[in-house]
Every structure is written in C-alpha cells, then in structure tokens.
Symmetry: C2
Subunit: 188 residues, 2 copies
C-alpha cells in the first residue's frame, strides 16, 4: 500500500555500506526522476550517479549530516552510503523551480520500493564537490541523494503545535523525528 | 510496481468532475505530504482542502492551465477538478525550500494509487486566490494541486537533445509530453 511506502521512507543516514547498488538500479532511480512532473515540462535536471568506493569517497567529505545531532559528524566507515545521485541543474535549460524536490521524492520512494533507503542532503560544500567531481560550469549542484541499505531505525513521534521539531537519538541510537499532527497542518 | 505508478502519474487536466473525492481521502493525501521529508524537519507546509462545488468554483478562476496550449483556456464545466489541495507556507515557521515539491509528488503519487490523478499548478493568481479563500497573511500560497478522476490520455514521447519540449494535443485530443531520454540526462 502506498501509505506503507510513504511511512517507511524515512531519512536514513547509516547504511550497510558493503551492500552494493547495481548500475541498472541506479539508472532506474534516475528514470523515476526523469518521469516526474517538470514545471512547463522544461526538464532542466541532470544527474550524476556514484556507486563505486572511490567516487563515493570523493563525495562524502563535502556533505553535512544531520545538523541537529551536534555530537555526530556523520556515518562512520562501513556505515556510509553505497551510492549517491547528485541532482544538477543544467543552466543551459533554465532554473529548476521545485523540479528537484519532486524528482528527489520520486527517487527516494523508488529506492524504498527496492528496499533501499536514503536521505536528501541540501547542506553541501558545492564548490568543493564541483571540483571533486569535475562538474563543468554548465551545471549547478541542487541536491545530493545518499542511498544504501538502511542500518538504523527511525521512529516518528507526533508533537503538538509549538513543541520542538528537532530530531534526536535515544540511548539505543534510534532516531526520533517529531512530526506535526495532521489536524495541525490543515487550515480550515 | 513503483515504475508503473510513476509512469501512470502524468499531469492530468481534464476530469470526471462528477466523481466526488471523500474528505477521508483528501485528508489521507495531505497525510502523505505530512509524512514526507522536510528540510531540517521544520515542516513549514500547511494545507487547504477543497472538495465541494462552491469552494472548487472559487479556486478555479485563479489558476492558469497548460501554458503551451494557446487555444485552450482550461477544462470546461463538467471536466474540472473534483477537488484541490492548496499548499501553503506558514511564514511563522519559515521558508519551504523544496519541501512543497517533495510533498506535491507524494500527494500526486498517492492520488494515483487511489486511481485519481492531478496536476501541480504553479501559475496562480495568488492575491486573488488568497482573497477568495480568505487566507490570512500568516500564509503564502506555494502550489495548487488539482485532483480528480482523469478523463484524458497522456502519451510520453521520447525526444532527442535540442528537440522541442512543449507538450501538445493531437487530433484525438490526446495529450503528448516530450521527455528527454535517460541517456541524455545522466552526466558521466
């Protein structure tokens, strides 16, 4: 059921790094982005796939992980993503609007349907990553999607209006995400 | 299969308007937005649901339909959406980033899983719609999602780089959407 897919699609940040993702699956995930709605159908998004260790290692240092977890610098070796999809804007085509948000969610839900999981990363050292991946000036980095076989449990907690929305980890290293209640986000 | 869901999730603009969408389904669709990723988990999105004729009629005039179809002003009476979800930014919380793109895709895919369909509309007379729906200044209108039981066929055509991306309707009123090829959107 679609509800189960949506609920199971949490932001995962620790993975079974040894679980390799095939190039066919990576291309299929990009295809989910390709087949998603695009404002005025302009399709300005382009994609870089990374799935081998050396390329993954060149991406990882330029990403910021889980800003609210002050004592956690990101996943350790062995728990890092098995791959990445870097979403670019082709400046020869035009601005993305919200296309990259739409495409990112298609990719993440698609990954979940393959029993993979991931995380949309917006906090990126863009200049450094451009250099590391030798990305030409035709492209701007919009988002990085980290992907892998999840190795953590994420728990949704409902909160009341005004309560803290910062995610946190409990003593079992389970990751808690406070979510507003449905009734509090519908404006009558 | 997820691929089939993504492919069947086209932008639909003509509907069986008499097909009513229950309030439970509408709330479920908003819940898909609620359960989607949100940048820094801030959850600034709020939602207005419209599913009765008078409210739908107050929204419709403020939307622009299918900019490339110059001789088509939008769906006629009887083929209009059965409902809308208006995605708002709560300015007391903060900017949306790409949250509304993410949430919109969750809602559309969820609608498709209910055999409904829809269209993300970004071209909105925002001031007029704010007045029509008596939306307070606490909120900004980000997107409108039109929803209903689709009454049109949408065909995907693959194009080569540089070919025209404008969608068009053939003599059978079937809607064609040119999409770039997968190989052309992956940057090596």
């Amino acid at each position: 059921m679609f509800y189960d897919l949506i609920v199971s699609n949490r932001s995962y940040r620790r993975f079974h790094e040894e679980h390799s993702i095939s190039v066919e699956r990576m291309r299929e995930l990009v295809d989910y982005g390709r087949l998603s709605p695009s404002g005025a159908n302009k399709q300005p998004l382009k994609y870089i796939i990374s799935r081998d260790k050396s390329k993954n290692d060149s991406i990882f240092p330029h990403l910021q992980w889980a800003g609210y977890l002050k004592d956690w610098a990101g996943p350790e070796e062995g728990e890092r993503p098995s791959g990445y999809i870097v979403i670019l804007q082709d400046t020869n085509i035009g601005p993305s609007g919200v296309d990259h948000g739409i495409a990112a969610q298609s990719i993440l839900l698609g990954a979940r349907s393959m029993e993979l999981g991931g995380c949309i990363i917006q906090s990126i050292k863009r200049n450094e990553l451009k250099t590391a991946l030798q990305i030409s000036d035709q492209y701007e980095i919009l988002l990085v999607i980290a992907l892998g076989k999840p190795k953590e449990t994420v728990i949704l907690d409902e909160i009341n209006d005004g309560e803290d929305i910062k995610y946190w980890r409990d003593n079992n290293q389970e990751h808690h995400v406070p979510k507003r209640k449905l009734q509090d986000i519908i404006v009558e």
